[in-house]
Symmetry: C2
Subunit: 228 residues, 2 copies
DNA sequence: GACAATAGTGTCGAACTTACACCTTGTCAA
DNA sequence: TTGACAAGGTGTAAGTTCGACACTATTGTC
């Protein structure tokens, strides 16, 4: 926490450093991201990415994780650094450099986020129906989305959206949502199974009033490896 | 420039922000990077990446370009942001966040770099014979190299090493250097020409006492597009 | 004119990608 | 119990891409 009772002086001007996080999920077959409503100036009342100022003895990754948890209650995600935004007037208060991160979260981990800290509200928004965003956060979101889509091709990033167990139809549905196009069921299953990244749990899962599907899990441990 | 006659105070501690740049070239059929010898403490006398402190009213990209030019005399490169390093004790003086960049330069643009500013010397080093580096710069170099190799597959990044005109053999040689493996001449030419990214200049180039080769140039304008 | 050195060219098989349709297994309601 | 509904699950053939592979062409030199 910050203690405004003293001041800190330097022989040269220093920018402030923040972290901001773009948290993606797939919800109702739509890509969605997590936003907080700002409680304070500037942009009070605007929606923004969760994030905040770096503590002076805190690693960047830790700051992103802490701010995310403080403002939304969501913890334990794997945060990957995205890009650093530092245009000179991106924050009206002072010079602010923002180191941005992105993360994926499975639908079922949606322990409804709770607002706290500098946020007066928290909610998920469909990616193609975002409200106006504070600062340059719209640009950050765009870059995160480009990265996400690019990584679909050459990494296992999509598994980041899947719960511990899932069916092939559910996985295909996530790919279709992210790629925004339908995929052939047989070819999809062939390709996924050929990669040898998932295995059957042996159980079945009933998702409706019809034939139940085989349940799968990722072969790799907790954190989904992202092939760079 | 910095004016140390006054001080700058903030209600909260601020880190310093620097930029550092990894400049790659291919030289004598080997990958090489540009290093400067530090004139000042800390790590005075050590080799390090060119870079330095962000001016308070300067964009990050501009800072990287400025510091590169000040310390090495090299200007006009396309700098792409790589990653931001901010471990708490990576600089012994104070908390320093470094936004790092990388760039590629063709062999023929090697107007011999000249040391200036905070650098007492500048030189190119073969990538697999680097001296010990100051700060965490070895980690930065490693990450830049991983990114470079990864992008070879799905981008036109290799053209960044080529002069305005070149022969197919020269291009193949750059690929072989970067991939560290020999390539089949016929398959290489087929693949490159199929991409439709280069065109014949109509001229020939004599590279020795033997049959001259056709000269090519990149189809795209000045800056080589890097497909993300 | 023979030799040295690099430039330049085509084919075949294997592997991978894509397009495409039907039967199976469960629920539910008549 | 049976038939309709809904999603689960499976194979094949054609086209395309990728990789291995060897010889002729052109220039300069001796």
């Amino acid at each position: 926490m910050r203690s405004p009772s003293q001041t800190f002086s330097y022989p040269y001007p220093h920018p402030a450093v923040t972290t901001d996080v773009v948290v993606f999920t797939v919800r109702n077959n739509r890509l969605a991201i997590l936003l907080v409503k700002r409680a304070n100036m500037p942009f009070a009342g605007s929606w923004a990415l969760p994030g905040g100022f770096l503590d002076i003895d805190e690693d960047l990754d830790a700051c992103a994780a802490r701010e995310l948890e403080e403002e939304t209650g969501i913890a334990g995600l794997y945060l990957e650094q995205l890009y650093t935004f530092g245009a000179t007037h991106r924050d009206p208060r002072e010079r602010v450099i923002s180191v941005t991160y992105y993360a994926l979260v499975p639908q079922d981990a949606l322990t409804a986020p709770r607002a706290a800290s500098d946020a007066s509200d928290v909610d998920w928004f469909d990616f193609d129906a975002l409200p106006p965003l504070a600062f340059d956060h719209a640009a950050i979101v765009q870059m995160a989305h480009r990265r996400l889509v690019a990584k679909l091709d050459y990494s296992t990033i999509a598994f980041g959206f899947m719960p511990k167990t899932f069916t092939l139809s559910e996985l295909q549905c996530v790919y279709e949502t992210l790629l925004n196009q339908p995929l052939d069921k047989r070819n999809f299953r062939k390709r996924i199974l050929a990669q040898d990244l998932i295995e059957e749990t042996g159980r079945q899962r009933r998702n409706g009033k019809h034939r139940p599907a085989r349940e799968y899990r990722a072969r790799f441990a907790k954190r989904v490896e992202i092939i760079k």
